[in-house]
Symmetry: C2
Subunit: 273 residues, 2 copies
């Protein structure tokens, strides 16, 4: 059975998508065809959206599910005419919150994501640039400024995690790839040792690592199971020996790796939501 799911917003659609996908993920027997319609901020766009939703209902022989976060009452009224089951996020929660907080909500179109305040924008860009400049051990002289330094073997997930920490939380995250040279020694390189309180280790299942490396360099020594087992063993011993906190990235999304690191390292987000 297939059902259409629409995420409709007068802004980016991110809230509608995030909540909608969370709810839909609880129904794994049903196949959903997902469509996001952002920036529905005029009568014309709303009418075009309704036409699409109604066509989807005909095609799939069942009403679409609509998740919406539109705040303008006139545009909402148009969306309401569609042949759909509506999950109306703001209607469900804004009125009870107004009573609890004892004030009216401002109910402004697209208020939740824009305009971004300028200080926030700049610190986010700063953090992204920091992650790019300090990726893959390229520079180690900025480690003083880092909030956290991720270490781990090649392809264990360091780069995307650093970028996500920067983008989502404004955290300045550097990363340093541990190679066999680093692991053979009994101690960390001096430039890591002096920032030991900022180090956080990534580890990964060796079979998974081998599969990822094979995507990059098929049938290489680098991607071989033997090499992957060896490197992961060594790196886990290093974390233990040096008492460096670590997590496994196997079967985790970048969001999950990042939010777990935030919690385990006790980092506070540097961006106002």
């Amino acid at each position: 059975m297939k059902r259409y799911a629409y995420f409709i917003s007068d802004g980016t659609g991110i809230t509608a998508e995030t909540l909608g996908n969370s709810l839909l993920s609880q129904f794994d027997k049903i196949q959903f065809e997902r469509v996001t319609l952002p920036y529905i901020d005029s009568v014309e766009k709303a009418e075009a959206a309704v036409a699409k939703i109604n066509q989807a209902a005909i095609d799939s022989e069942s009403s679409a599910i609509v998740f919406d976060t539109i705040v303008d009452k006139n545009i909402r009224a148009i969306i309401d005419t569609a042949d759909a089951f509506k999950v109306d996020i703001f209607a469900a929660f804004l009125a009870p919150l107004e009573r609890e907080l004892n004030v009216d909500s401002c109910y402004t179109v697209g208020k939740s994501h824009s305009p971004t305040d300028s200080a926030n924008y700049l610190s986010r860009i700063d953090a992204v640039n920091f992650a790019l400049d300090n990726d893959d051990g390229a520079k180690t002289r900025h480690y003083e400024e880092a909030d956290i330094i991720l270490i781990g073997v090649s392809r264990s997930g360091k780069t995307p995690t650093c970028l996500y920490l920067a983008m989502q939380f404004g955290i300045k995250a550097a990363n340093y790839p541990l190679t066999e040279d680093d692991m053979a020694d009994l101690s960390l390189p001096a430039f890591l040792q002096m920032h030991k309180h900022k180090l956080f280790g990534l580890t990964i299942d060796p079979d998974r690592l081998s599969a990822i490396r094979n995507e990059r360099r098929a049938n290489s020594r680098y991607a071989s199971l033997k090499q992957c087992y060896h490197e992961v063993d060594e790196v886990e011993l290093l974390y233990q020996r040096e008492q460096i906190q670590s997590i496994s990235t196997t079967d985790k999304s970048i969001e999950e790796i990042s939010t777990r690191i935030m919690a385990l390292a006790g980092l506070q987000r540097r961006l106002q939501s």
Copy 2:
């Protein structure tokens, strides 16, 4: 007046945060102290969370607002004992959805974000690596493979937008910085011309650009108002002459720039949500 807002989840907390912040942004007269408590997946952690919430209520002399997406009934029951106004996202919407879809939801702990399926993880990492490899005009020989190529003057937002498109949507986005040389010519460089259908222009208010560049290189010619006005004028003329779609990044968040580009360029996300 200050109120505490808690985002509580047995997973990353991203759904609770996203919805919660959207709702709270409608109340701009109230100052919220926001706290995210992810991975609340045991009785002990839930009890610790309740203690924090109750302490916050005492400190702020008013009940906290709690947004939660916990699915385990026992853990939920503990959170319910806190002195708080609860916005219970799953309780509000799952039962009506179950009736509409005529199936029970699986109600699995943390199901919405993990485990990620492996194909999704790899295409996301691929897209992030593509953005990194093709940043700032570093390489132009992979443009064949790009889904989109962002062009614009230095510091107009190309890099963070490419990274967000990769991370969030799995889109392979390259970017090329337009310099005075490119703009002086009457035509695009050949390697851009041949991918003209993939080009998307960024522009920015010159005063804002000057402020951003001054953060990087204070009082330089590069950051001067005169130079910024000149470059932005030229680049907007180029977009017009070559009929390249463009948007202004001024006062927009990276999310908004990215989702608008997705919609305007007609790009489809390459990741399953």
